[in-house]
């Protein structure tokens, strides 16, 4: 039984799992938050899809004899040809790509043999080498892809060969930029190491905006390859974000402003165990950032907990700090490292156990069930008195601090992003 909003998802999922004729019954959507008498009325009424009584369909699903097709076994292959089956004019092929759902709706560069061959010169890896696999979210099927397939999508995004190793690293991460959920997830990509300079990336004024070719194109390529190499982003089937997320266009891709980090404040990739001379992309998952309109007449660090109150205790926290603020924290407020600031934030950003238990959908859906199984610290937090305090961010390691910006003022952006993984770019040169 599924609500009508998930009809296409349920049907396509059943097909991919090898049971296309599974007995499905649909009830009106949503159930969440509806009064009980309304829910009962739904069950006593008809399936909005078939027009048949829901309870009759449930019983039929249990008792109606199976057909030969219902009992079929075997393997269904799904070959993907190397070339698009039709040759046509540029205008018509671009429209075909749009119509097939292979683009983000913006103009693309068509992946001709010549352009793909030129892109492949950006890496030492062979075109037929398997890069990895990716799925729209963990229950969905994973698709696999080669270096050449990644190159096709890089061409479409407008990338140049020198961008290709970073795009390959994103593909090798196996992390789709279009994670499907009814919440509208975003991803973020932070680049560290010498590749920043090699690609002339922008970590200064406007780093998060549309002002730099590498920042823009690599981020966009991640979306295109997620759509095409993993089947992500098919609305109704592999994408269910109710409102969507504008960050998905280029996935907040930017380089950390390493050059302005003071002594003791290590770049993000060094914090993850890489050497400073290695080029790395770190992938984050979250939903959004806000502008922190803090007072300049108070110590900066004392204001951070206030601005983190919007973050769900289910989430992580990421602070995008302009280097001006980092220098103030180091020079005048005594924070000698990112880790020292992170630990202070963890200790001073809390909410009551009652708020933790009762105010957040994601805690109720994803954390309390884990606590009920006995997993700590959640099992203990569930037993605390209402006014006891618990950390808003469950572990200090879930707080990330990143330097970005051009020092035009002491501003920063807190967000609910958490580090998912870090991937070597050098491996794909």
């Amino acid at each position: 039984m599924v609500t009508t909003a998930f009809r296409e998802l349920a049907t396509s999922y059943a097909y991919k799992k090898g049971m296309p004729n599974i007995r499905l019954t649909f009830v009106p959507h949503p159930i969440t938050g509806m009064p009980t008498d309304v829910v009962r009325g739904y069950l006593q009424g008809n399936n909005p899809v078939t027009g048949k009584p829901i309870l009759d369909e449930i019983v039929a699903g249990l008792t109606q004899p199976l057909t030969a097709e219902d009992q079929a076994t075997g393997l269904v292959e799904r070959p993907i040809p190397r070339l698009v089956s039709v040759s046509d004019t540029e205008e018509k092929l671009v429209q075909l790509f749009h119509d097939n759902g292979w683009t983000d709706g913006l103009p693309i560069v068509l992946p001709t043999e010549e352009r793909v061959a030129a892109m492949l010169k950006g890496t030492s890896h062979k075109p037929d080498e398997l890069v990895g696999s990716m799925q729209p979210s963990s229950p969905h099927e994973a698709w696999s892809y080669t270096v050449e397939k990644v190159a096709v999508n890089a061409v479409m995004a407008g990338a140049r060969p020198e961008h290709f190793p970073t795009i390959l690293a994103l593909a090798a991460s196996g992390v789709t930029s279009l994670f499907t959920s009814t919440t509208s997830f975003a991803r973020m990509g932070v680049i560290n190491g010498p590749i920043q300079k090699e690609l002339n990336m922008n970590a200064g004024i406007g780093a998060l905006g549309p002002f730099n070719q590498a920042n823009s194109i690599i981020g966009r390529a991640w979306t295109l390859l997620s759509m095409n190499l993993s089947g992500s982003g098919r609305i109704g089937q592999t994408y269910m974000g109710s409102q969507g997320n504008n960050f998905n266009y280029n996935n907040l891709l930017f380089p950390e402003n390493e050059a302005q980090l003071p002594a003791g404040w290590n770049p993000l990739h060094v914090q993850q165990g890489y050497k400073p001379e290695e080029s790395v992309i770190s992938i984050f998952t979250g939903w959004g950032f806000i502008h922190a309109d803090q007072s300049f007449s108070k110590d900066f660090h004392t204001q951070i907990p206030h601005w983190l109150q919007f973050i769900s205790p289910f989430s992580s926290a990421t602070l995008l700090l302009d280097p001006t603020i980092i220098k103030q924290l180091k020079t005048y407020e005594g924070f000698d490292s990112k880790e020292q600031l992170r630990d202070w934030i963890f200790d001073n950003t809390k909410l009551t156990a009652k708020e933790w238990r009762e105010d957040y959908y994601s805690v109720q859906n994803f954390v309390l069930p884990v606590g009920r199984k006995g997993d700590e610290p959640y099992a203990s937090w569930m037993k605390l008195p209402d006014d006891a305090m618990v950390p808003r961010i469950s572990r200090a390691s879930r707080i990330t601090i990143i330097s970005v910006g051009g020092e035009t003022n002491l501003f920063w952006q807190p967000g609910d992003f958490g580090l998912t993984t870090s991937v070597s770019i050098d491996k794909w040169r």
């Binding site: 039984m1 599924v2 609500t3 998930f6 991919k16 090898g18 049971m19 004729n21 019954t25 009830v27 959507h29 949503p30 159930i31 969440t32 938050g33 509806m34 009980t36 829910v39 069950l43 309870l55 449930i58 019983v59 249990l62 008792t63 004899p65 199976l66 219902d70 393997l75 269904v76 799904r78 993907i80 070339l83 698009v84 040759s87 046509d88 004019t89 540029e90 205008e91 092929l93 790509f97 292979w102 068509l110 992946p111 001709t112 043999e113 099927e141 698709w143 696999s144 892809y145 397939k149 096709v152 479409m156 295109l224 190499l229 993993s230 089947g231 859906n365 069930p369 884990v370 199984k373």
Partner: protein
């Protein structure tokens, strides 16, 4: 170069300038397919259906999503009235809805005759 040659050259250049964009736009291109490789699908035969519900135990499994339990207890109640000779057993799967629950599946296989599962989203 005489006057006729100049005229010929001029016309030729003009023709090139006018014709090239059109020809390029109408040129047919062959392009690579951007799609990755989906896995093969293994067809799974469905479980045999019941000839009757009388005397049978049917599990109704709540996967733990918000308000699914309320939907399914209402369903249990309505089906219980309509089919009093059938035992309608509501269970909530352990953990989050991403987690497997082999213990529950074993119980249903041992004690149940059918199962309804779903999401009241």
């Amino acid at each position: 170069m005489n006057r006729n040659n100049w005229l010929f050259t001029g016309l030729w250049v003009l023709t090139l300038l006018m014709a090239s964009p059109t020809q390029a736009a109408e040129q047919k291109l062959t392009v690579l397919n951007p799609l990755g490789q989906p896995p093969a699908i293994t067809k799974v035969p469905m479980a045999p259906r019941l000839d009757t519900l009388a005397g049978k135990t049917i599990y109704i499994v709540d996967i733990g999503f918000t308000d699914t339990h309320r939907l399914f207890t209402e369903m249990q109640s309505l089906l219980g009235v309509r089919y009093p000779d059938t035992k309608w057993e509501v269970r909530t799967k352990i953990g989050t809805y991403f987690e497997d629950d082999p213990k529950l599946w074993a119980e249903i296989k041992a004690q149940g005759h059918g199962m309804i599962i779903g999401v009241g989203h």
